[in-house]
Amino acid sequence: MEANAAIVIGLGGLGCPAALALAQAGVRQLTLVDGDTVELSNLPRQPWYRTADVGQSKARVAAARLQQAFPGLSVRVVAAHARPDTVGALMRGHDVAIDGTDSVAAKYFLSDAVAHTGVPLVFGGVVQFEARAFRIAPGGPCLRCLFGEPPGEEEVPTCSRAGVLGALAGVAGGLQARLALEGSEAPGRARLHVLDARGDLRVRTLTIQRVPGCPGCSPRRSAG
């Protein structure tokens, strides 16, 4: 699959490597969406950002760095978080989207937007020593087929859940980009890639089937 235009939503641990991989693959236009500013604790896993960038807009800094590395690349910056009411318009016009967000809620409304925009989205996640990625096509399966309804008000996760290895996020983001460019699957099916980076290293590839009638990926008239 050729992708001319890709959108990366979230320029953190997943979005940084995904954006680089897309640019290296020759994607001609990248839209970068992120409302956050750079924090010192981001730097070990978000290699576009330097020490002096702390406090700056992530989307703007990543765009500038990408431009310096790839002068022929067309980069559009949206220095704001994607929201349920803006995500559709953001995604339209792109061949593929990358989920670089770090909130469960965002991942769900991004997944929901695939059906009504027709833009495939590659989900990614990294927590502690585990990295995951899977490609959500307009026909599903989607995040709801995989995980069901979003979890309710989560019990406050312990601080150790905030631990993450930067390089593992790099693997997830790099893989997301590959799935974005190359990964169309059989209709109604998708593979979830999981890497457990502890000890003896374990990789699992799970085949997810679309759940019939799933509210997240059933065909519907495109929203306004």
Binding site: R50, F70, L165, V171, E182
Partner: protein, 358 residues
């Protein structure tokens, strides 16, 4: 409290907070990352991505040789850097990313290209291809050189491709795991053209020692001469090859001083005199030799590590001398009859019988 580890600076505690939070890592793990450098022995987009993640994570990075290539633009390299000397370009970029990435560390491991990179200093991550699959190998200090060489066979040099970010991040991950002590001595991954990863299955190491026959014979003669007591010593390995160093068995002397702590005798136990052991290590260091194995005899016993031997060699389940093997020689009636070579693998000693040529 004596001199403890150098504390992390406040800015480091902030920067590396998410790494410190990881189970089994903590401040100690982060300090380990800061102290073991990675020398890039090859360029290319995958290696440069690895350099970015390693440097960002606090690992000092050096290299690579040569000039910046046109496919290397990325986290550390801008389009205008193409054609410049790669190592200084990287140093400038790393300094802006993280000043910890440009300090001189205690020691360097390597990131090298297959198939030739297998002999590079450890901890080592080697990257290359087998056909259209990317191959990554991680080797710690303890990894068997022969097993590693076997895994390197049939591989080719890395080629820039759509997998560079994923491959480079994997290389950084494997390196960090080795430094953090979270990885077995040898591990490998294969990445298919679609990005799917698979762990390389590793056979149990059945390789014997890289001991010259004459050195083994000298050791055996010494052990036979010590019969019926447990003779002991070490084999050192340096640029000139291996050499045997006999050490007196100090067990009897210690037993005489403290029979409660040392209840056995020199026929069933061995001990190196600490002062002599230290002197030997210093000498080996000065001669750029490393400890290959500890040798001892089992007079009228089995050619295998006893429970006491294992407890001594790996107290608390952790090898006291990482990367060092153990040679146990059974001596019956003053003649060596059989021997075993034991190496620490995946949490236990794996023993291989060693033929004794007569």
């Amino acid at each position: 409290m004596g001199s403890g580890p150098v504390a992390l600076r406040e800015d480091q505690v902030q920067r590396y907070s998410r790494t410190i939070l990881l189970r089994g890592v903590g401040g100690a793990g982060q300090r380990a990352l800061l102290q073991t450098g990675a020398r890039l022995l090859s360029g290319g987009p995958a290696f440069l991505t690895a350099a970015a993640y390693l440097g960002a994570g606090g690992t000092p990075v050096e290299g690579p040789p040569g000039l910046v290539g046109p496919d290397e633009a990325g986290f550390l390299v801008e389009a205008r850097d193409v054609g410049q000397a790669a190592a200084p370009t990287l140093q400038r970029a790393l300094l802006r990313l993280n000043e910890d990435a440009v300090v001189q560390p205690r020691a360097f491991g390597s990131l090298a290209a297959l198939p030739d990179g297998g002999g590079s200093p450890r901890p080592l991550v080697a990257l290359g291809r087998r056909g259209d699959h990317v191959v990554l190998l991680g080797a710690g200090v303890e990894a068997c050189g022969d097993c590693l060489a076997q895994l390197c066979q049939g591989t080719q040099a890395p080629v820039a491709g759509p997998d560079a970010v994923q491959a480079g991040a994997l290389a950084a991950l494997l390196f960090q795991r080795l430094v953090l002590g979270l990885a077995p001595p040898l591990s490998g991954l294969v990445v298919s053209p679609g990005g799917e990863m698979q762990v390389l299955p590793l056979p149990e190491c059945r390789h014997g020692p890289r001991l010259a026959a004459a050195v083994l014979a000298e050791a055996v003669r010494h052990l036979e001469a010590c019969y019926p007591e447990e003779g002991c010593g070490v084999v050192l390995e340096g640029a000139a090859g291996t050499r045997w160093v006999a050490l007196p068995n100090a067990y009897a002397a210690w037993a005489a001083r403290d029979p409660d702590a040392f209840p056995r005798d020199a026929r069933s136990a061995f001990l190196f005199e600490p002062a002599q052991w230290l002197a030997l290590l210093k000498e080996a260091d000065a001669r750029a030799e490393k400890l290959l194995c500890v040798v001892h005899a089992h007079p009228d016993g089995q050619p295998a590590l006893s429970a006491e031997d294992t407890a001594q060699a790996a107290p608390g389940g952790q090898p006291l001398l990482p990367g060092v093997a153990y040679l146990v020689v059974a001596i019956q009636q003053g003649r060596a009859t059989a021997a075993a070579w034991a190496r620490w693998q995946a949490g236990r000693f794996v023993e291989v019988p060693l033929p004794l040529l007569r």
